[in-house]
Assembly symmetry: D4
Amino acid sequence: MNHEVRKVLEAVKDGGMSVDEALLKIKTEPFADIGYAKVDLHRKVRQGAAEVIYGAGKTPEQISGIADTMKRNGQDVILITRLSPEKAEAVSREHEMTYYEQPGVGIMGVFPVPDGIGKIVVATGGTSDIPVAEEAALTARVLGNEVVRLYDVGVAGVHRLLAHKEEIMDASVIIAIAGMEGALASVIGGLADCPVIAVPTSVGYGASFHGLSALLSMLNSCASGVSVVNIDNGFGAGYLASMINHR
Amino acid sequence: MNHEVRKVLEAVKDGGMSVDEALLKIKTEPFADIGYAKVDLHRKVRQGAAEVIYGAGKTPEQISGIADTMKRNGQDVILITRLSPEKAEAVSREHEMTYYEQPGVGIMGVFPVPDGIGKIVVATGGTSDIPVAEEAALTARVLGNEVVRLYDVGVAGVHRLLAHKEEIMDASVIIAIAGMEGALASVIGGLADCPVIAVPTSVGYGASFHGLSALLSMLNSCASGVSVVNIDNGFGAGYLASMINHR
Amino acid sequence: MNHEVRKVLEAVKDGGMSVDEALLKIKTEPFADIGYAKVDLHRKVRQGAAEVIYGAGKTPEQISGIADTMKRNGQDVILITRLSPEKAEAVSREHEMTYYEQPGVGIMGVFPVPDGIGKIVVATGGTSDIPVAEEAALTARVLGNEVVRLYDVGVAGVHRLLAHKEEIMDASVIIAIAGMEGALASVIGGLADCPVIAVPTSVGYGASFHGLSALLSMLNSCASGVSVVNIDNGFGAGYLASMINHR
Amino acid sequence: MNHEVRKVLEAVKDGGMSVDEALLKIKTEPFADIGYAKVDLHRKVRQGAAEVIYGAGKTPEQISGIADTMKRNGQDVILITRLSPEKAEAVSREHEMTYYEQPGVGIMGVFPVPDGIGKIVVATGGTSDIPVAEEAALTARVLGNEVVRLYDVGVAGVHRLLAHKEEIMDASVIIAIAGMEGALASVIGGLADCPVIAVPTSVGYGASFHGLSALLSMLNSCASGVSVVNIDNGFGAGYLASMINHR
Amino acid sequence: MNHEVRKVLEAVKDGGMSVDEALLKIKTEPFADIGYAKVDLHRKVRQGAAEVIYGAGKTPEQISGIADTMKRNGQDVILITRLSPEKAEAVSREHEMTYYEQPGVGIMGVFPVPDGIGKIVVATGGTSDIPVAEEAALTARVLGNEVVRLYDVGVAGVHRLLAHKEEIMDASVIIAIAGMEGALASVIGGLADCPVIAVPTSVGYGASFHGLSALLSMLNSCASGVSVVNIDNGFGAGYLASMINHR
Amino acid sequence: MNHEVRKVLEAVKDGGMSVDEALLKIKTEPFADIGYAKVDLHRKVRQGAAEVIYGAGKTPEQISGIADTMKRNGQDVILITRLSPEKAEAVSREHEMTYYEQPGVGIMGVFPVPDGIGKIVVATGGTSDIPVAEEAALTARVLGNEVVRLYDVGVAGVHRLLAHKEEIMDASVIIAIAGMEGALASVIGGLADCPVIAVPTSVGYGASFHGLSALLSMLNSCASGVSVVNIDNGFGAGYLASMINHR
Amino acid sequence: MNHEVRKVLEAVKDGGMSVDEALLKIKTEPFADIGYAKVDLHRKVRQGAAEVIYGAGKTPEQISGIADTMKRNGQDVILITRLSPEKAEAVSREHEMTYYEQPGVGIMGVFPVPDGIGKIVVATGGTSDIPVAEEAALTARVLGNEVVRLYDVGVAGVHRLLAHKEEIMDASVIIAIAGMEGALASVIGGLADCPVIAVPTSVGYGASFHGLSALLSMLNSCASGVSVVNIDNGFGAGYLASMINHR
Amino acid sequence: MNHEVRKVLEAVKDGGMSVDEALLKIKTEPFADIGYAKVDLHRKVRQGAAEVIYGAGKTPEQISGIADTMKRNGQDVILITRLSPEKAEAVSREHEMTYYEQPGVGIMGVFPVPDGIGKIVVATGGTSDIPVAEEAALTARVLGNEVVRLYDVGVAGVHRLLAHKEEIMDASVIIAIAGMEGALASVIGGLADCPVIAVPTSVGYGASFHGLSALLSMLNSCASGVSVVNIDNGFGAGYLASMINHR
């Protein structure tokens, strides 16, 4: 990659490319020289210290190969999401990797020292939402954020949540994760002064309709400062939270 | 009606009708002798001191006529729901009636002295939910219940709700009314020890889909003791609350 | 737990805590001193003699451990819902437990003597609704209620239902459970004078859409005194019925 | 039309057209010679004594013109559905017509003497369903059927329905019309031994979703012999009932 | 059963029961004396020569036992629907039964001689709809009807359908079965002069949404005389067709 | 516009712009020099002789102004869609324009001589679909196509359609427009050898759900060569048909 | 308000209230002393220089009264959203106010000097989305942000968007507003390095289903850093953008 | 088949059949003489050099048999879609066949020399959409088209797409395949001057609702010249593209 970046920079220097075009080129085509695979950058994480591989739909060999290429290009920390235990085992034979089974996340390298504005709070309504929460939390940590976990603080026991009002009021960004009625985002949004990223989960049964109930609930939040990502999209929430925490 | 009831009772006395059948007969056909109209009892309110007329789809003349018949049969208090201002004005020319414009409710006679077990709390998430809440509250009062109103205590400002925890913990039944994300029912359900009747409202816009969001949210409540009635069905909630409060 | 409750009461006595706060504290955090796990109380059953563990998503070891803690805190009857046969077998090795396979319910201890106002009738439209009905019935019994079962009394043979009008008119609360067209709640609601809790089930095929048809049908019931819980939520109905039956 | 039919029959006689083709030709193109308009036959009623004009989307002039053509072709009875009061008034200036305002139906000529196998029962759950019921009843009468009306016999008061079991068991076909939870079709289907045509109506509010609730309920009927037509489609039900009653 | 029927008839003779009540009693409770099981009559087939057992959710032992009781009560032909191959094998060890694997139907006894008014045509849009069609066809045959099968005559090749216009115009009732766009019912409805029962199937993928597309299409049919049953409900269509064919 | 195009061409000649970029520039920004308004080109019709203005949401003054600019730039034929009668009248005061009220289309200039490969057939299921059909037909004519109209050839009378098989088999492209069950596209698709563009319309009531039924039906068409545009999108179909007819 | 805040601060000083509790009190109950109305703060904007009144469902008198109270409490800038022209005129008689008709926004006072980190870009897909965009833009300006408007840069003409890549890459936050297919958020998300707040609008027809299409599209964005608010919720987006821009 | 075609042609010669009828006969019943199976022609591909077998729901023996018949009738190239690896292996034992595992496509014979107007571009948003794309591409090639593949050019990295603007502007037809937000069709539609066939895929999770999100997005495309086929319907898109490319 260095080679390609060098060419871009030389073009800028020569006046053959504007600064904006150079930025765009670096941003959108960082891996044009990788041979046997077009690396799926899982929505192109370029902000922090880590790179991301979206594990679903890739063979262990492909994942290993992409990781090799990343490492050769100087990447120290690599995040792999949606990684099944079977694939994780296979990848582990080739690379040193810490595997988190519940969220299906593998991490090569060590978490960088947090360099964000403040802390990212990751809160869940129930224990069943934790896998999604961990995907968010690990994504945030790997991108250089300090993370505070508040799990099982659902609104049916609002005092459990209020017991943590200090963490909530102190947060830089909050990720509120809940299935079923998805009310957590509104209650937290009413307590907090920072952006709240709501993640509906597919936890529930019957009229939860695989997350639709929580999704609609969160979109209709009467609290300000709340926005929503896709059902079960822990990675997306962690990524956006890091973006906001690095303004 | 007296005449018909008398006949039923004589049949019971003569052994020509069982007690159960007599009860059922009295319950299901109390107005068989009314000539020009089959009185729509709006789901047959027989429990308290009041009778109910469902105003939608009836002419002022029909409403007046039905009220006449009710009064002749010894009915002191009559509740009319879904009554438009125009119809209310026409009916008022024939009958002394207090009209509540916001919920579209007319009441003939005075509220009975409450004789329930305890108090019914009627809570709303926002001010726009008040018309539905008033339909519920007036229904409950007319059926002989003491009503406590907690309006605009939505979950986005959970401390407004907590400021009323005494009323909530003291209630015999709670009616939780909310549109948008409908989270009020869950938070109240987590605080209270009594049955909570959740009423989703059509308040909101966009992804509230005319109350669907609040409805799903309430059906998925993670708090125990919560059940749900139809969107905007204040009458149904007030009626059921009265039933529970008169166990 | 005694220890913690004692501390709360002493605080009340000293004036350091109001009565309301004490009630709330006792209600919302009864198990703060349990070490290795945050006990999922399955919506905090504190009303009757029993405690509840929501079995889905817990390992047999966790269930056993939570039950141990409950017992040490003086709990005589413990209800475990959504418990698979495999987990039931494992738990049974550690604890004496009666297991009901169809509804997936395990019970430690004996049913308490009923102390409610009257009887809870549990009615189903068909035989396929029985697992949900048994979850409701066992929940109600474990919480101290007398239960009358009326199974397979669906509206397509309305005389089967009418044959039981005595039980229906005599009930304190009725739980009406049905899939497909879900009409049972309306017909029972028209016969009964007590609250009816409607439970839609996912029984059916095609346009039943996994319980949506029964759910909508029940929400639109033209009978008064009917409210609805989530699809297949037998526990929620049994819990709410017990609450109403213990007013 | 006589001219064209004559040509077809001559072709059959000459062997130039098969009997089936002749039937088909007569059936599908009875009005090919009408000049200024392709007559919308509202689903081509050819079975009974009447012809049908679907009034929605036609001007009074067009309706009058089509009726003229029909009369010139020997048609004695003409049914016009979905006819607004304004158009009815205009058409009445040109033609003698009885207008039924509630269902929006106009009829030219007199009802034929019934010649079906038996009686068609038209039943409704509530009074608001009557306009749809009358469209069905008038369609059936105009096509030569005896009609028995059972209105406001909804399932929330099942004894009102049972009071009419004689009519129900005696019917040749039953049209069951209901909005809200739509349970009427199932209860009648369980009582009757004849085909039941279920018509969901858009009567209701909130979670009735403009008739969707009743529609799904009727499609999932657990009673045999029940089939369903479109929401508010009284004409379709009356037409089909007549077909079955003239087997 | 004879014994119970005798008691009913004697009551009628004695004046202790009206004729209607007697009919109703015979109709709705024919199996009150069966001990160990409440026989699921699969929507009570009493019209023809056969009785029906709904196989889904019953053990082979239960099916065998119910069949035993039916036979002892003089039943010659028994139809078992939704019967898996495994259950069929087990039942076959106890009873002589012909098993049709594709539609999952078992039949004990022989098809009765058809005694309906005319022929029932069973038509499908594609070959994948045949299992549903066979459930309908076998139901109709077992209830005493002559059945004509027109399979794979979907509207995308409308001449395949027109090649059979003789059978279509000759039918007493037509069952039109189709998935995907479900247009078959409309085209047949336009050709035929008899009632058309439309059965949407779950055949298709993507935007067929498990039969929803075909269901909506059939409900909106612009042809008269078409009504609809639940998705994949071959039995219901066959039963209703037989009812109409035996007017 | 000439001025701007000239600049582009000069840049190409000078080597300052590639041919592709020039094409793209001409295509995407033809009206950059219009002062007071960014002309909404209604999806930029550049293929034929005409330009298009999407009338909805524009004032008559804006429409007139845009038309002025177009004319000054040498545009002879201008199509205005979704134009209400009121706006049409106002625009007509400034410009000579033929207005078609039913589809809400205004045309300035004369239809060009058709120069496509063959004929475009526009077919509708019913008469209510004609406004959408005319939007399609006028769009196609204005873009230089010969159009054959086949209106009211719905599948419930399939012989009406077959009477036109010559036109269908002769077509270059067919636009099949239908509401309700939307089956027309499949039947035509099965007869024709050319691309069929299906346009669902919002014609219908009840379970047509404002065009959803026809939309799903058309997407699931079992005929090959059929694709679908948005509900009521006559313009889109006419535009695409012209594109295909000018290959 | 000053008075109440003073009391809170004194309590903090005296040790009678913790800092957190004081913050929460100030945050959640700033207007407890207003007599005749509970001020609807439209999701309590406390972050910037402005206060907000949600105009829908309030009378002009109420709006004026609330504004009076705000001004007396030292509020310089007041934003009123969802304000109809009629109400605006009435309010203008009492207060000096700039009214923006298209988005229905009224502003008392002058825009504060921007004090955010960077610029907020507000982009729309089409011109019909501008009212929602202006609600967002005016909200952001009133809360102290510099706003860059990029209107009508929809993805069907992607070069119009690319022409502004400098503004996009330079933004601190981007609000992407689009109806119909809602693809703008994804394309911008792929170009930008900052958080993108997606606002689906109800612009469109047919299968846009009042914004559902754009909503789902935005929730499924394959670009990272994108989150979504409710349909047409310009205020919510502007508020959240300001929050992020003031980190 | 030759035999049957000969008979048709002789009938035409003799004047016993019109040319149109002959064409229709040849088109709709080419395989009437095949004995043991009615060949599913997968929507009758008659245009190019190849014939198609729809593999889903057929046994390997049936597929082989149909292929035999086709070959005997002179068919050189045969396309088999939706063919699982297991069936492919079985079929390969009888016939020489190239099997493409990812799209589940088998091809007997060699690709014909392309004879279309121009090139068909097949573009996908992501790598997960490739199986659907390959079904489209292979269908197009087998029908005699030159195919250009542009995979993984999703809109979140719009420069990847713009890098291929030459291929896009040069295409005769473009097939745009995408799941999730489905925006690819709009962006390509804005760049291209040729018809764009949009194929939504079921790729995605959560609020993608199995392709519904992409489907709605594509139907609402604001670009002209875009039409849509069913979710995952690669074959349909390839077939239609070939039709357009052979105008």
